[in-house]
Each structure stands twice: as C-alpha cells, then as structure tokens.
C-alpha cells in the first residue's frame, strides 16, 4: 500500500519532469526511484511516448498566401469597426458620472414627496394678496389693539402711496363722447333711474 502511495507521488513528478517543471533535487530523487521501480519506468515510457506522439501530431501547414488573405480580411473588419470605436467610450463616460447624479435625483424625489403637501406654491404663499391678509388676520386674532394699529398703519401707508392730485386730474369716463355711443336705451334708462335715486338721497 505504501509502495502504491509512493508511486502515485512519483507519477506526478514524472509528469512535471516532462514539462521541465521539476526541481533538480526532486529530479535526482525521481531518478533513484525509477532505477528500482519497474512500474514507474513503464509509466514514464508511456508518458514519454504520448509526449513524443503528441508533438508529431500535425497541424497542416498553411501556405504563406493564406496569411496575406488573413491579414487583409481582418484589416477590413477592423477598419469597419473604427468609426464606432468612440461610442463605447462616450457611453462609459456618461455612466461613469451617472452614479453621482443618482443620489441627487433621489434626494430631489424624496424632498418632493415629503414636502409637496406641506409647502404651498410660492405665488400663493408670498405674492398672493389674499394669502398675505389671511396670515395677518391670523396674527392679529382677537387683539383689538393690534387690529387698530394695523388699520392705522396700513391705511396710513395707503394714503401715503396714493397720489390724489393724479386721481383728480384723471379724466372722468362719462366725459368721453364715445362712452355714450354704445350704450343701449335700456342701459340709459337704468342709468337715469340710478342718478335720480342718488340725487333724491
């Protein structure tokens, strides 16, 4: 049994020796073993024969003209590849940076989802007149003093902003001759009645 185990090791060494992959020390040990082991000698002979025959297996030589055709044919195919050669690079470049864009996009989407119901549109929130008044009324609440102050300040600022001289100078609509042209009889009657009511009161 021990002999068989030993021979298995040497069979591997014989294979390595055929490939010139056995160290000098092991080669010497192998030679000593082969001298006293007929089974391993036969095994080595068989392997050497396989090696010898394998190297004799022909690869039919190809004529030199074949290589010319080979290179020409290959050259054509490679030249056909050339215009497309940059495309993969560009693609790779864009994908190389895509991973940077991905978190930004993710943050944007999450922000949109979480804040969409909380944040009013900008125009409503900041610029809308009604929204401003609502917020002011909310702030004032039941505080009468604050309301009084608010009215005073707002009305004061409004009166400062208005240019009464300009208002007085602006033409009255009814003074325009063309204003009365398109007014129907019914409308005229309605206006007349309204004027009468006003003058009575």
């Amino acid at each position: 049994m021990r002999h068989v185990m030993k021979c298995r090791k040497y069979e591997k060494w014989i294979s390595d020796a055929l490939d010139r992959a056995l160290s000098e020390r092991k080669t010497k040990i192998l030679e000593d073993h082969l001298a006293g082991c007929p089974n391993c000698r036969v095994y080595k002979e068989r392997l050497s024969m396989i090696q010898h025959e394998a190297l004799r297996l022909e690869v039919t030589e190809v004529p030199p003209s074949y290589w010319q055709e080979f290179s020409q044919s290959l050259g054509k195919k490679l030249r056909a590849l050339e215009p497309r050669k940059e495309a993969p690079n560009q693609f790779r470049l864009s994908w190389k940076w895509a991973w940077l864009g991905a978190p930004v996009l993710l943050i944007w989407v999450l922000s949109f989802i979480f804040l969409r119901d909380r944040v009013q549109p900008l125009e409503d929130n900041i610029f809308s007149y009604e929204a401003c008044l609502d917020r002011l009324y909310q702030a004032i609440g039941d505080d009468l003093g604050l309301e009084e102050n608010f009215n005073r300040v707002i009305l004061g600022s409004l009166s400062e902003g208005l240019d009464f001289a300009t208002i007085e100078e602006s033409p009255v609509l009814s003074d325009e001759a063309l204003f009365w042209e398109d007014v129907s009889d019914e409308e005229l009657e309605f206006i007349e009645q309204e004027i009468k009511k006003e003058t009575k009161s």
């Binding site: 390595d16 394998a54 080979f70 044919s73 290959l74």
Partner: protein
C-alpha cells in the same frame, strides 16, 4: 514598427493605430492559429476563430491595462473562444456521433484500413483521446505540450495557479495513458528510445 515592443504597440493600438495592431497580429497569428487548430481540428473553423480572437482583442484593447503580457492576454482570448466553440459544437452534435465521425475521418486518411500503420493509428487515437479530455485539462495540455509553455505561462493564460496546471497535466496524462495503454504497449517496442 517591427522593432517596437508589444507594450508600445499596445499603447498605440489603444489610440486606434491599426498599423500597430496589425503588427501585433503578424507577431502572434501563427501561434494563435496553431493553438486554436488543436481544439477545432479543421482549418475553416480555425480561420473564423482566429479572426474573431483578434477582433475581440482589438475591441477590448482599450480596457487592457497590461498587467499581463499581451501574448498571455491574446492566448487567453483564443483558448476561451476555442472552448466556447467546442461547447457549441457539442450541443449541435451528439457526443458519440461526433467522436465516431472524427475517428473515421482520421483513420480513412490512407487508402485502406490495412495500410494504416500502428503509429498512424496511435496518432489518430491520441488525437481522439486529447479531444475527449475535460476542457480544463485539454487547455492545459494544448498550451504546455503543443505551445511549449511553462506551467507558469499556462497558469497566467488560464488564470489559475501553477500547481493547478501541474495537477491538470498529471491528470490529463493519466487519462491519456489509461485510454491508450493497449496501443502504447504495442507501439512501445517499435518506437526508438526516447
């Protein structure tokens, strides 16, 4: 161009220099062809696969960082292509039918069965036996025996360790000798001393 190193030619080819790549093709086309032929055993398929090997190399050369030698890389492509080809071929044809046809073809090389010499028969049987090796053993055998690569070189091509190549060679040889033993013993007396 012809005196430039592989490394320099690869750098030029990376920038789309076709002449540089053509020089690399010229350097390795015969060795690549022979290697592929050991797998396919016919010139038509070998021609297609050799061209495909260089095409793939050209397409991928921009991503080749020269951590290994160019020849290691191109051999790797060639061996992978050949193994894929065999897989595909095997699927197309039932294994037994495939092997029978091969053997018939090889044995019918002479004019009659009688004229086939013992060595010729051994050669045919050996070719058949090499083909029947598992792909990983066959790849190692082709590179080490037919391409005379060292275990280290074959290991780099096959992306495995040297000891793996060593074991595969050992196992491949054991399989071959088990299969060819009757022919080997018969031919042993006729062979010159090796």
């Amino acid at each position: 161009m012809s005196d430039a190193t592989d490394k320099k030619l690869v750098e030029l080819a990376k920038n789309g220099d076709l002449d540089a790549f053509a020089e690399l093709v010229q350097r390795y086309r015969e060795r690549i062809y022979r290697t592929i032929f050991r797998f396919t055993q016919n010139h038509g398929d070998t021609d297609d696969l050799a061209q495909e090997t260089f095409m793939r190399a050209f397409k991928a050369i921009r991503h080749f960082h020269q951590k290994s030698e160019f020849y290691t890389w191109i051999f790797r492509i060639a061996v992978n292509q050949s193994l894929n080809f065999l897989k595909k071929k095997k699927r197309e044809m039932a294994k037994e039918e495939y092997q029978e046809r091969r053997l018939d073809k090889q044995l019918s090389g002479g004019s009659s069965a009688e004229s086939v010499s013992l060595n010729k028969e051994l050669e045919a049987r050996l070719q058949d036996a090499v083909k029947s090796l598992p792909p990983s053993y066959r790849s190692s055998f082709v590179l080490v025996v037919f391409q005379a690569m060292t275990h280290g070189e074959a290991a780099r091509v096959l992306r495995c360790s040297e000891s793996t190549v060593s074991w595969r060679m050992h196992k491949a040889r054991k399989m071959l000798q088990a299969r060819l033993r009757p022919y080997l013993d018969e031919a042993r007396n006729e062979m010159p001393e090796i």
